[in-house]
């Protein structure tokens, strides 16, 4: 252990986050390594190590000969202070080598509030934060992940983005970069070449011009870059890499369990949900392949819990036989099975009762809106009677804790819709009185609301967010009617939702704001300990950028979006059609009931959509 590190580590919180050396990490002989890849997750170790995408890509890259992928996470403030004070540049966990000496530095971007960490980590690594200031001698800085489907706020800082799923495109990129680097090609010439690969977006090859009102006039490619950049997908999940052998942290992380990914995409089409559109089309793993991965990965990890992961687990065809198969294996070794993302229907509770024989957790449902009218607007196909009946079965089964998630500020929401949340909750309480088997233990309902953030590539991408004041007024309204003693109401603060709204639909001007926020001390903005609304608002003012323009403005239907050149498969016309259906309070059937030709099928016409 390095002498300085030896002194620093005892002084910081949870030092095991900064040491590496966990079971399952990959260490390679340097003499056989041609490309060193620093996989940076712009949040803490506990968050980053919980990310399935990172585990997959770590495995995919380390399977490549001559490539060594290592991990880097954002240090907590105490560690950052120590690194800076002692002049230690950001390092990777496996080898402890400085990130700036790597060939490729990659960021995984899942949510907008991590953007300031990208700048901070580049700086901690000793790299210039802006792409234009990093010449040929510097590592290639790339990014991927869901929030890059609007890459524009980070366009100034990243050399190239990989759009969509990276299992195939990332190795392709690594290979061509290795060849380019070894042949002495310039960065500029390499980027032009890379831009021709499907799924790769090189922001410096696009000129963005603006109208007088601040909206975008045009996005123009140059040097042969494509007009539209299409996201990549894995067509056959059964054949895709699965991290059977992965790193098992020695310190507790957020999701400290085995994750079994059932399928990608979602058949539901909830109109507020970005994931539901950008992961289309639906592609599933077969039950046989899943069972094999479950066994192999549990054997390897020794985890005591496994979770089935997808956007809507109830919609997996063959979920019951799969669970039976997995349960037999899990029970034999005291492994519990958890099933998040279940729909509120009868089948769910029955399933929960079956799987939770080992350990039992609470029930969580997300009706999202209180009234049926508003649930129809957002196309959340949960009927009140389904929810109540599900709760009834759960109460009969002995459950007495239920969490319910809602959003406030959804398009067309009225005060009646807000108070309808309370009506729904009261009906749940009533059902408990009628059907609970054991009333002595009492009922606990936790209701949470958050402020709706309109996202790119959704039918609500045109919508205005409600102001913070309006959100708080609706919170107060809901509080004033919510009287049941069994109910606890938690509302999320709207400040981060406001900034998230600016960033998620932001354009390149947001880059200056990000830099200003970071330069005035912004980092770890997803953490309330670090987030400062004042800092963000000051940065907007000093950059002459109006946050209201991005968050509170309803976009014209013919407006060019900052992400108009990004093609996620679903047609822009489909989003518009869905928007109109929302205003008509008309629901759209799920993709299994009827295909509405959203356009995503064009990403894999040969295998089709597996809704």
């Amino acid at each position: 252990m390095d002498k300085i590190m030896e002194r620093i580590l005892p002084r910081v919180q949870k030092p095991a986050r900064y040491t590496g050396g966990e079971y399952g990490q990959t260490v390679k002989e340097l003499s056989a390594v041609k490309t060193r890849f620093a996989f940076c997750f712009p949040d803490t170790y506990e968050i980053g190590m919980s990310n399935l995408g990172m585990r997959i890509l770590y495995g995919v890259l380390n399977e490549m000969e001559g490539v060594w992928c290592e991990r880097v996470f954002a240090p907590w403030g105490d560690m950052e202070d120590q690194l800076r004070k002692n002049g230690i540049p950001l390092y990777t966990l496996e080898s402890g080598d400085p990130v700036r000496d790597f060939d490729i530095v990659a960021f995984s971007l899942g949510y907008e509030m991590a953007y300031t960490n990208v700048l901070n980590m580049l700086d901690l690594a000793g790299l210039p934060i802006r792409a234009e200031d990093r010449g040929d001698g510097f590592p290639l800085v790339i990014a991927g992940g869901t929030s890059c489907l609007n890459p524009e706020p980070l366009a100034a800082f990243i050399d190239l983005f990989l759009l969509g799923e990276g299992e195939e495109s990332l190795p392709e990129l690594v290979k061509i970069y290795e060849d380019s680097r070894l042949s002495g090609e310039t960065r500029e010439s390499f980027l032009k070449k890379a831009a021709k690969i499907e799924g790769i977006y090189v922001p410096s090859l696009y000129e963005v011009s603006y109208n007088g009102d601040g909206t975008i006039k045009s996005i123009t490619p140059k040097d042969g870059a494509p007009k539209k950049i299409r996201k990549r997908i894995i067509k056959n999940l059964d054949a895709a890499f699965f991290p059977d052998k992965t790193i098992i942290p020695s310190t507790e992380i957020v999701h400290d369990r085995e994750v079994l990914e059932l399928f990608r995409g979602c058949i539901r089409g909830c109109r507020f949900c970005q994931a539901g559109y950008v992961y289309r089309p639906v592609r599933r793993r077969s039950p046989e392949v899943l069972a094999e991965h479950a066994r192999a990965s549990l054997d390897y990890s020794g985890y005591e819990e496994m979770t089935l992961s997808s956007l809507s687990t109830s919609d997996y065809r063959g979920l019951r036989p799969l669970c039976d198969d997995l349960l037999a294996h899990c029970e034999a070794r005291s492994v519990s099975l958890s099933l998040p993302s279940l729909r509120a229907d009868n089948f769910s509770v029955e399933l929960m009762e079956r799987v939770q024989k080992v350990r039992r957790t609470g029930l969580t449902f997300a009706p999202e809106a209180g009234s049926q009218r508003l649930r129809d607007v957002i196309n959340k196909n949960v009927r009140e009677e389904d929810l109540l009946n599900t709760c009834g079965i759960a109460f009969e089964g002995g459950w007495n804790t239920i969490k319910l998630y809602f959003m406030l500020g959804l398009p067309t929401e009225t005060d009646e819709d807000v108070t309808a949340i309370n009506d729904l909750v009261n009906k749940v309480v009533h059902v408990w009185h009628q059907r609970a088997k054991n009333k002595a233990r009492g009922l606990r309902i936790t209701v949470s609301t958050s402020c709706f953030v309109p996202k790119p590539h959704t039918p609500f991408q045109w919508e205005a967010q409600v102001t913070r004041e309006e959100y708080m007024r609706r919170v107060a309204l809901l509080r004033s009617v919510m009287r049941s003693k069994s109910v606890t109401y938690n509302w999320h603060d709207a400040d981060t939702s406001y900034i998230e709204a600016c960033l998620s639909r932001g354009d390149r001007k947001m880059g200056d704001v990000l830099e200003k926020v970071w330069r005035t001390g912004g980092k770890l903005d997803a953490w309330s300990e670090y987030f400062s609304m004042e800092r963000w608002l000051n940065a907007f003012i000093s950059c002459g950028v109006s946050p209201e323009f991005y968050a509170f403005r309803e976009r014209g239907e013919d407006e060019v979006f900052p992400w108009s050149h990004i093609d996620v498969g679903v047609e822009p016309e489909f989003f518009l059609y869905q928007r109109h259906e929302a205003y008509n309070e008309r629901v759209t059937p799920d993709c299994r009931a009827a295909c509405l030709n959203c356009g995503a099928l064009s990403l894999c016409p040969e295998v089709g959509c597996d809704a």
Binding site: P15, Y23, S250, S301, G302, E304, V358
Partner: protein, 220 residues
């Protein structure tokens, strides 16, 4: 009475794994090796394993013990090899055996420390340290749950000796109490910092090297 016991090392990068995390890590090491240990009863079954004398974060040890009940999956003598194959860096099982004594019989622990003086060790350091620790009482301020309290460390010290190994390092060898009350080796340095700051090093790292019963016999 616990039935089986592991003697293991915790060194290198593993010294930053906390006591609680180490318990969880061992739970998974057993599972990975397909070794079944007895679980607790009830709603949330957990393997019943216990590690005696929690080690402070950042200290090494070559004499840690972990008690458990082996149900199935391995013969005792094959256990170290099986577990080591699936352990993180720095955790190494030396021996697995049937336990014959209770961990509460552990009385003394032998520690080895390296004291580092960045601008060189003070003049006459060995003698001055010897004199300091030869005092009849050495009361330090110690943070506890109920606030700051006075703590005389002398009854907790069986022996302590110092040896200057270079111009800026001094080796400390000590036998101190393991429990009831335990003396954290860091407290030796805290005593210097509080009562004789000119002798306090800039940094000290410790290694636990042996555990003994009350009579000074090695505990296994």
């Amino acid at each position: 009475m616990p039935e089986q016991r592991l003697l293991f090392e915790k060194t290198g990068r593993a010294i930053y794994i906390s006591h609680l995390d180490l318990m969880r890590t061992f739970q998974r090491i057993f599972a990975r090796a397909s070794v079944t240990v007895k679980h607790s009863e009830g709603f949330n079954p957990r393997p019943k394993i216990s590690i005696a004398l929690p080690l402070s974060l950042g200290q090494e040890s070559v004499c840690e013990i972990l008690d458990f009940c082996l149900v199935s999956g391995s013969a005792l003598e094959e256990l170290p090899e099986k577990l080591n194959a699936v352990s993180p860096e720095g955790i190494r099982i030396i021996k697995a055996y049937n336990a014959s004594r209770k961990p509460k019989d552990i009385y003394w622990v032998k520690i080895l420390g390296q004291m580092e003086y960045d601008s060189g060790a003070p003049e006459d350091i060995e003698k001055r340290l010897d004199d300091f620790f030869a005092q009849k009482i050495i009361v330090i301020k110690k943070k506890s749950k109920s606030g700051i309290s006075d703590f005389d460390i002398v009854p907790c010290i069986n022996s302590v000796g110092f040896e200057k190994t270079s111009h800026n390092t001094v080796k400390v060898n000590a036998v101190i109490t393991a429990q009831n009350p335990a003396l954290n080796p860091e407290n030796l340095m805290a005593a210097l910092r509080q009562l004789s700051p000119d002798l306090a090093p800039d940094f000290t790292k410790f290694r636990r090297i042996e555990i003994f019963d009350k009579d000074g016999e090695i505990f296994r």
